[in-house]
């Protein structure tokens, strides 16, 4: 084996191990850490992160990557591994230390100020630190790629290769189809009984039912665990230690269940990574958009669909007495209820969710191009909410202050949610074309051949291919909103009898 490449993989394996350590420390902090340990945990995390940064910016690593960049003896996987490592090194070396520090410190302060501002429904208190975070993000973008628009550089952090030039037409097309569809649904007079959705179900019953469903989706409990947390997440340390969490609202059983299915989608991606290359960047999940495609494919295409519930609904009915006489169709209508009056992104339905995202994308884009100032955000937010959904937030807490992202300086993340929905629809369509028996198998409680298709075309591919190459190899075309739009139009037209 190429000696330089062997040395490179050793250095990258150490970096992966440090990332995994951060994963365990973070999981521990959320789930089991005693409250008194918050300060010492902060020191432990920053020590490990500083060491990882030192290693990522070590001159020898840059030297190895330089020497290997055009090495003709490397195979395709090795070439991809070098490319992914180079990407990490570039970002780490180009951003000067003072900006990294400023970002970290301002994010901590920003979060505190945001919590208070949201509580007081008072955007003006948050505006100054948000301004600082925007300026830092601009400086960071300029350091990474001075020749590119700042917001494109930020998008690239979460979705490598994504740009405004590509997103604008995609999002415009979504609006073109979704806005009239939502208007037709809003006009629908069919208002079925939904009170069963708020029936009381003890947390422990929810946990048992949920665990059973998670297991039947192919989640491997020998390489993972399920815990309870305020904010559900999928974390852990590499493909053999993938930990998911959920919360159990005793008067909203459906939310915890679809939340578990969503996190299981993320977890199946992580558990499906190439274990033989688990310590190398090339095995990592491709991007946040592709990650979200896996959670949404299982939550929406599968977990909001009739086939899946043919097998799983009887489990619910036998555990939750009030569902015994509820037909599957009525249950599915409840699962897929569209509520265009909802102000909050995280509780939005499948149809309105993209509009919540597009709103945020457009504001971020205009903020970074200079067309919009921070102080004008609330007015711009409310105008867009009125334009897209016909509602205006009564205050900023349920408007411009509702999301945590900006308080930590995470600009450019929101589009990934909707990219995920679009990729999910493309993947599911492609899998169905290749395996028309997927619905029939799901209806029999079997996740194969769907899971096998995802393993082969997404999970095991990892970062071997770029996002575009992966999506093209899997679906025959680049990012394309039509799969989602035809799926959504057909489904909701049918459900609402439009």
């Amino acid at each position: 084996m190429n000696a330089l490449y062997a040395e490179l993989t050793q250095r990258l394996a150490d970096l992966t191990a440090l990332e995994e350590v951060v994963g365990i420390l973070s999981w521990d902090q959320e789930i089991v850490m005693p409250s008194g340990a918050a300060e010492s945990r902060g020191r432990q995390l920053s020590t490990v992160q500083v060491i990882a940064h030192e290693r990522l910016t070590h001159p020898r690593l840059a030297e190895l990557l330089n020497a290997l960049r055009d090495d003709p003896t490397l195979d395709a996987t090795q070439v991809a591994n070098v490319r992914e490592a180079q990407r990490d090194v570039d970002k780490a070396t180009r951003v000067p230390a003072h900006l990294v520090r400023a970002q970290a410190e301002t994010a901590v302060r920003g979060h505190e100020i945001w919590v208070a501002a949201r509580k007081n429904k008072h955007f003006a208190a948050f505006a100054p630190v948000l301004n600082e975070l925007v300026e830092i993000a601009k400086a960071r973008a300029a350091a990474i790629a001075p020749d590119k628009p700042a917001y494109d550089v930020l998008l690239d952090d979460y979705e490598p290769g994504m740009t405004m030039a590509r997103l604008d037409p995609v999002f415009d097309r979504l609006k073109e189809v979704l806005l009239p569809l939502i208007a037709r649904i809003r006009a629908a007079t069919d208002v079925p009984d939904m009170t069963w959705l708020t029936q009381h179900v003890p947390a422990d019953t929810q946990r048992q039912v949920g665990e059973n469903i998670v297991r039947s989706m192919g989640y491997d409990f020998t390489c993972g665990r399920l815990d309870t947390s305020v904010h559900p997440f999928c974390g852990g340390a590499g493909p053999t230690d993938v930990r998911i969490t959920t919360r159990y609202a005793e008067n909203a059983f459906l939310g915890s269940l679809t939340g578990m299915i969503h996190e299981t989608g993320h977890a199946l991606y992580e558990q499906g990574r190439d274990v033989a290359l688990a310590d190398q960047p090339v095995s990592r999940a491709r991007s946040m958009g592709i990650h979200e495609s896996q959670s949404l494919l299982w939550e929406k295409q599968v977990g909001h669909g009739a086939a899946f519930w043919q097998a799983q609904y009887p489990k619910l009915q036998s555990a939750y007495g009030f569902l015994k006489d509820k037909p599957l169709d009525a249950f599915l209508r409840g699962v897929n209820d569209v509520n265009a009056q909802n102000l909050i992104r995280v509780s939005a339905d499948e149809l309105t969710y993209p509009l919540h995202v597009i709103l945020r994308y457009e504001l971020e884009r205009d903020l970074f191009s200079g067309r919009l100032n921070v102080e004008d955000l609330p007015a711009a937010w409310n105008a867009k909410m009125q334009g897209y959904l016909g509602i205006t937030p009564p205050d900023d807490a349920v408007g411009v202050l509702q999301d945590v992202h900006w308080s930590g300086g995470a600009f450019g993340y929101f589009p990934c949610y909707t990219l995920g929905a679009l990729y999910a629809a493309q993947f599911y369509q492609a899998a169905l074309a290749q395996h028309p028996d997927i619905p029939e198998k799901l209806a029999a409680g079997e996740v194969e051949p769907l899971l096998g298709w995802l393993r082969a075309h997404v999970h095991r591919v990892g970062s071997r291919l770029t996002t575009d190459a992966l999506v093209t190899a899997a679906t025959g075309r680049l990012l394309d909103p039509e799969a989602f739009l035809s799926y959504a139009t057909a489904k909701f037209t049918r459900l609402y009898g439009l």
Copy 2:
């Protein structure tokens, strides 16, 4: 502040953070990690440990310590901090890398072979790897201090400053008093009913009662947590994150309870460390012997005594129906039962435990001086068991193969258990002399002033003083077995009506 000293503390803080990270990874591995993650956890741990070793042996750290060694501007705490750091650096730099590797690899192999050998009751299968481990330990000792007897260097790993020259007369004195005392007990005809000790108590009831007692001892749950594990331990990451575990045998409630009290003694020591210096070596627990003194003081002097149970026994009686009519005296007689027929160290009582330790100490000492060969260990073990306790193990599994220590090359650890018992008796005697109301307060359910005395004289002292200085400052004299011997003689003479 001295700039060099400030630089030193920064480097030491990083090392402490890495040690704490290892603490969390290890706790996670024992308590919550999915089984499939064993291999990746091994990589994470070794990555962090290699980084810690690189930092401990970094030339700049040695330079700083050199420059600060005789710096007259340092105060006593700073001088002690330099001394403790120097000790760590010396051990890390003097042992060559090939020995560290050989030790680690042979320990893994040794453990595997020992598990099989114990299962097959076949010492001969374990002898070759044990021989290797002894030779590696000798080489390691020679690398650290070539002018000292090897076994003294090994003792110093766990109990800094301890030597065979000091241990021999102490242990001889213990034998002189304990052997005839045990003989008198063995001859006692008083055999009370002990069947209540094996009454069934559900694990959850044991947990509730135990948690209550642990809390009443002053254990701070905001800086710790209590979990279940096969081998109980006290772990975590620094004084604000001290985690204890226990196991619940449903037909031996007393074992889990005294086990919890024991681990709480360790935990109180860790939680009582100087938080302001938590990231520096000077705040660390003084030694394994002093650590064991804290667990044993709470388990034995306090937790096997009448005063403590006057407050706590009613809790047991109300939770465990079968104790309702059992008088406190009969309960205490059961708690303190001496079983000289017991072959196993970990389940030995307070009186015979030191003999199990002395036996191991004498064998280790003779092994390292060359007076005893590995292959002769079983015969030597059995002869000593016969000489001290009048019993001979029926096989090696319950004889020479019973302990895990040697399988990992941990030679010189055993004496700490009995040093702990001796220090515990000295500390308790000194605390009583200063606060004669300790029993009265314990009987009222109050751990003050005992805990306050331990905080001031042991916990907060950390490693500011050497063991000898700490013990002298706290008790007015050096290590001295008489406190333990008079306590034990008085207690067991009374309990057994001798």
